[in-house]
Symmetry: D2
Subunit: 339 residues, 4 copies
C-alpha cells in the first residue's frame, strides 16, 4: 500500500442529523441511488406508505408547465427496519434508484454560478461527484421528504400538524398570480424565488432546550440545509425589527374556559427558545434557481478562461412549489426530536 501513502486526501460532507429522530442521507443526483437511513423510529409504529408516496409526489418534478421535465423515480424501497409493516425499532433504510440521468449536460470544467460547484471542487480536491451537483443536488431532498413524511406521521399521532404554503413568488403576494410569475420568468429563460410560510399546530408548551438547543435553533439549522433557502424568520420576523414593542406585544389573557392564553402571536409560538403553546409560525426565503437558460459569466477551469455560458439543463424556473413539502419535512424532522 506504500504507493498510496502520498495520496492526497480532501474534505468530507456530513449528511447526518438528529439525536432522537435521526437521518443519514446518501446518494447523488446522477449516481446509482439516493436514500436514507432513519434511526429512532419507535417499534410498533406502522407507517402509512401511501401517505409517504403522496408527500413524495408533491416534491416530484414534472408536475406541469412550471416544473422541470426530468422524470425522476421517486419510488423508495424499504430494505430494513420493518416487519409485517411495522417498525421494529431498528434503523429503517429506504432507497430509490435513479433513472433518466443525463450527465452529459454538466461540464465539470464550467462551474455554475450560485451553486457549490466551484467551492466543492476546491474543498474536495476535484474528487466530488460534479454530475448535476452530486450529493449537493436538490434531488437529495427526496430522501428528506421520505423521512419527513414519517416524522409528520409520528407528530400527527401526538396531535401536531404541520403545513406550509407559498406566500410570495418574485415579490407577488397574490396566489392567483404565482404561476404567472413563474411562467413569465420561464419564458425569458430566467427564474424566480419566493417565500414559504409554515405553521405547526398543536405543539405543546415547553419544547426546546435553551440556550443553544432552542426550537428556533433546531428548526433553522434544518431549514438552512434545504438548497436555495437563504433566510428564516419566526413570527413576524424581520418585520418585528421595524415595529414598536407596544405594537407587537403578545399580551396574555384568560379565555372563557378560564385558561391562560396569548392574545397575539407575533413571536411565532416560541419565546426564549421554547414553545409557548401557540402555533409555531416561520417563513423561509427561497432564492431563484441559479441554473437558468440566460447566459451567465463563468470560467472554463480547464483553460482558466472567462466564458459566457447558458446552462440549459432541464431546470425548474422556480423550485418554490416543489420546496413546500420539503419545508414541511424539514420542520417535522426537527420537531420530531422533541417527541
Amino acid at each position: 500500500m506504500s504507493e498510496k501513502t502520498n495520496e492526497k486526501l480532501y474534505g468530507t460532507m456530513n449528511s447526518e442529523w438528529g439525536e432522537k429522530f435521526r437521518l443519514s442521507v446518501f446518494g447523488e443526483s446522477h449516481g446509482a441511488v439516493i436514500g436514507v437511513v432513519v434511526g429512532g423510529l419507535p417499534a410498533g409504529f406502522e407507517p402509512d406508505f401511501a401517505e409517504v408516496r403522496r408527500e413524495l409526489a408533491r416534491r416530484a418534478p414534472g408536475q406541469g408547465e412550471t416544473s422541470t421535465p426530468r422524470r425522476e423515480s421517486d419510488e423508495f424501497e424499504v430494505m430494513s427496519g420493518l416487519l409485517d409493516g411495522r417498525a421494529t425499532g431498528a434503523p429503517l433504510m429506504a432507497l430509490c434508484r435513479n433513472l433518466d440521468t443525463r450527465s452529459r449536460d454538466y461540464e465539470p470544467s464550467l462551474p455554475r454560478p450560485g451553486h457549490a460547484d466551484l467551492a466543492a471542487a476546491v474543498k474536495h480536491g476535484g474528487f466530488n461527484d460534479y454530475r448535476g451537483g452530486g450529493h449537493f443536488s436538490g434531488r437529495l431532498t427526496a430522501p428528506v421528504v421520505f423521512a419527513g413524511a414519517l416524522a409528520k406521521q409520528l407528530l400527527s399521532r401526538r396531535g401536531v400538524d404541520i403545513s406550509a404554503r407559498i406566500t410570495e413568488i418574485h415579490g407577488e403576494r397574490d396566489p392567483d398570480k404565482f404561476d404567472g410569475e413563474i411562467l413569465e420568468a420561464k419564458g425569458r429563460g430566467d427564474s424566480v424565488g419566493g417565500v414559504i410560510e409554515c405553521r405547526a399546530r398543536g405543539v405543546p408548551v415547553g419544547w426546546g432546550e435553551p440556550m443553544f438547543r432552542g426550537v428556533e435553533s433546531e428548526l433553522s439549522a434544518m431549514l438552512f440545509s434545504i438548497p436555495a433557502v437563504k433566510g428564516v424568520e419566526f413570527g413576524d420576523g424581520f418585520e418585528l425589527a421595524r415595529r414598536l414593542g407596544g405594537e407587537v406585544s403578545d399580551g396574555i389573557g384568560v379565555d372563557s374556559n378560564g385558561n391562560v392564553v396569548y392574545l397575539a402571536n407575533h413571536n411565532g409560538g416560541i419565546n426564549g427558545g421554547i414553545t409557548n403553546g401557540e402555533d409555531i409560525v416561520f417563513r423561509v426565503a427561497i432564492k431563484p434557481t441559479p441554473t437558468i437558460a440566460l447566459p451567465q459569466s463563468t470560467v472554463d477551469l480547464s483553460q482558466n478562461k472567462p466564458v459566457t455560458h447558458s446552462f440549459a439543463g432541464r431546470h425548474d424556473s422556480s423550485v418554490v412549489p416543489r420546496a413546500v413539502p420539503v419545508v414541511e419535512s424539514a420542520a417535522a424532522i426537527a420537531l420530531a426530536q422533541y417527541l
Copy 2:
C-alpha cells in the same frame, strides 16, 4: 429518601454548544454568578484579556441614554485552564459575580409578555429561576461574549475577521437617526428593534459539512440562541426571493492575477452550505425589547385574573446596540468549529 420518590420532576435546559470549540454556560440573571466553561482551546494559546474586556464593555449596560441603568459587573475571573497566561488545553472556566440585583422588580405571578416566563413556568413546573428571567436572561449573553472574544482571537490568528454593525433601527436606515429612534421610543415608554449585519472576512473556501452541518445551519443555530433574534438571512436573504435569477447571479470570472473570482456576492459567501471564499454576510432581526414601561395585558397567575401591568424595570429601550458584539461572538463561536 422514600418521601422523595413521588417528587415530581420537570424539564431541563441545555446550555452547551459545539464539538471542537465548546461552551457550557451557567448562571442566572440574579443568582450568585454567571459564567462559562470553554472547551477546545488549544494549548499554547495566549488570550489577550484586555481585548476580551473591551468586547465585554461593548455589551455592558449603562453606556448612555439609550441603555439600561443597571450596573452589571462584567469582570470575569478565569479559574482554570490557564498557566502563566497561556491555555493549557484543559477546560477554561471563567465566572463573573452578579452585583446590583433587584429581584423585587419581578413578580413571579405576573408573566411578562414576549418573554419565556409563562412557557418556562409550565415547562419547569414553576421551579425555574423566575428572577429577571433567570437563566433565560439577556445577561447570559455576557459569558457568550467572553467565549466569543476568545473565538475571535483564534479566528484572527487564521486571518478571519468578524465585525457587525447596525443597519436598521425601527425601520430607519440612516445611522445618524438610530439614537433618535431609540430615545423617542424611550420617551414614550416603548421600545424598538432593528437589524444587525455581520461580515466575516478572510474565510477560506470549503468550510461547512453539508447537508445538515452547513455553515448557514451552524451560524443560524447559534444566532437564534441570542434572545430577541427572530430572523436570520444570508447574502441578499429575503430580498433574493423577490428577484430574478439573472439579476442575482454570482458570476464567476478571472482577476488580473489569473485567480478565479466571484463577480458578485448575493449568496453571502456560502453555496450549498460551504464557504466559497467570499465574505460571509448575514443579517439578524432583533425584536423590540418586550419589557416596556407602557401597560401590557397579562394574567395574575395567583388568581388566574387578567390584569394590565407596567413592567417598569430598568430595561433597554433597544437592545440592538448591545447586541452587536453578541452577534459577532455568536458568529465567532460557530465559525471556530472549523479551525
Copy 3:
C-alpha cells in the same frame, strides 16, 4: 389517521457511531439486506476493495469444521460516495443482500438464553425482528468489518497498523490446541469462548481527549458493541491489579539515538487516556456462543410455561476465530476518529 393515535410505541435502537469517521449500520440477519453508510471518508481516498473483500472473508462463516455451515453472502455493493473508484467526500453506502435464510429455525415464543431475545421483546413490545436475532445478530458485524477495512486503510496511510490474534480458547493458551478445544466442544453440542489480543502499531503520541474521551473509553465503547464481548483490558489489564507498583513501572529512558523511550509497556500504550507512542495493546474476552445443541432452560412465552429446548441452529461452536477481524475493525473505526 385517528385510529392510529392509540397505537402503542416502543423502544428504538441506535446503530450510529462516531464524529469524524462515522457509521450508520442497518439491516437484519434474515431481512432483505445488511449494510452501512460510512461518513467522513476524505475525498480522493481510493479504497482497495480487494483488501476489503479479504477482510470480509476472514469474518465469513463456513471456513471449516470449526465454523457454522450457513452460507452468507458477504458481497457488498457500493451504491454511493464513489466516483471512478475514489471517495467523493459524500457518504458511502454499501449493502449486501442476504441469502440462505432459514427463519423457521427460530421460534419467537422461545427466547434463547444468553441472547437479547427476551429483553428485546420487552423493550420493543414484541415488534422487534426476532428472526435470528434480527438487528442484534452477529451477522451485523459484516458491515462493521466492511467499514473497519476502510478505516484500516486510512490508518495504514498514516503508518498505523492494527492486528489481532487469539491468545486463549476455553482457557487453553497453546495455539496448536485451539481447534481441538473448539471441536471437542462441538462434539459435545457445546461451545467455547476465548480471548483476543489486539495491537495497534505506529500510533503517534497524543491521541485521545481526556477526561471522558480518552482512547480507552473510545475503544472500549466500540469493542463492547461486538456481540459476545464481555471484557476489555488494556496493557496488563486485570493482571496489573495483582502486581506491585514497582513491578509494573513503565520506566522512561533514552535510546541510542538520543530519543526518550519507554522501557516497558505495562500500560498498553495509553496513559491518562492519551497515547504515549508505544503500541496500543488490549484484550477482549469473548463468551462461548450461547446458542448450543445441548438442551437449555427457557420459557414458552405463548403459554408462560418452562421448557427445555435444544436450539440446534447452524451456529459456530466458537465465534472467537471469526471475531478476530471484527475486533481489528472495531479498533480501526475507533482510532480513525483521531486522524
Copy 4:
C-alpha cells in the same frame, strides 16, 4: 495581534460527558479550583447535599494509614441552577477551592512513569499544567463524585441502587487482609492495585441502544475515564472466556408468581447491549499507584539524561479504597442517561 499569528498551538482535552445527564468538569490539581457544570437536572429535583458530602467524604484522602496525608478541601459550593434548594432545570455549577497545594513536589523536567506527564507534554507542547498532573490528576474525580452523587439520587427515585466494593487487593481476595496488603506495600515504598465490583439493582428491562450505544459501551467508556482503571468486565467477564457455553447459560424460567425470570446471571444483567432486568454487575481493574517512593527510571528532559528518581510525594499506596465511590459515581452518571 500580528506577532501572535505564528504562535504555535497544541492539543486540547475534552472533559464533557453525556446527552441527557451531562457533565463539564474543569480545574486542576494545584490550580485555584476544581468543579463541574451538571446539565440535565430536572426542575423540581431537591438534592440531598448531606448525602453528596458523605459520598465526597468516602473519596477524600487522609482517612487513615492507607491513604495520602494531603488535606484536600472537598467542600463544593453550588453557584447556579438551584433556587430554594431545588434544581431549576438550568445548569448547576459547583466548585471547590484547592487548599494545601505543594507544587514544588513536582519537577516539570522529570516525567513520572505510569502517568500522562510525558505524553501530555508532547500533546500540549509543554503548555499543559504539569503540577500534580494538572487536569489529569485523580483529584478531578472529586467533581465526578459530586455529579455522581446527584445521579445516584435521581436513579434512587426510580428504584435503581448502585453499590461497589473491593473484591481484590494485590491478588488477595480476603477482605480482612486488604489493609495488610496496602500497609505492607506502603512499608516498602511500593503500591498495590485491586479489583472493584459494582452492582446496580433495580434496573428495568430495556435500557441501552444497540449496536453502538449499548449499556456496556456507555458504562465502560465512563469507567475508563477514571484514572488507574485498566480493565472492565461484565458478568463473569474474562472467566466466561474459559468456560463452556453449557456451564454459563443464563437459563430462563418461571417463578412462583408466574413471572418469567432468569435462572442465572453470568452475563451481568446485559444481553446484546440492553438490560434484561437482572442486576448489572461489572468489575474494574485498578492498577497500583504509579507514583511510589521506590526509585524509578525516568529522564531529566532538561538535559535528555536518564536518571533514577524517587517520586516521594504524598501518595496513596493504593487508590483502590478511595476509588470505590468513584466507580459508583461513574456508573450512576452513565446510567442516568437512561432516565
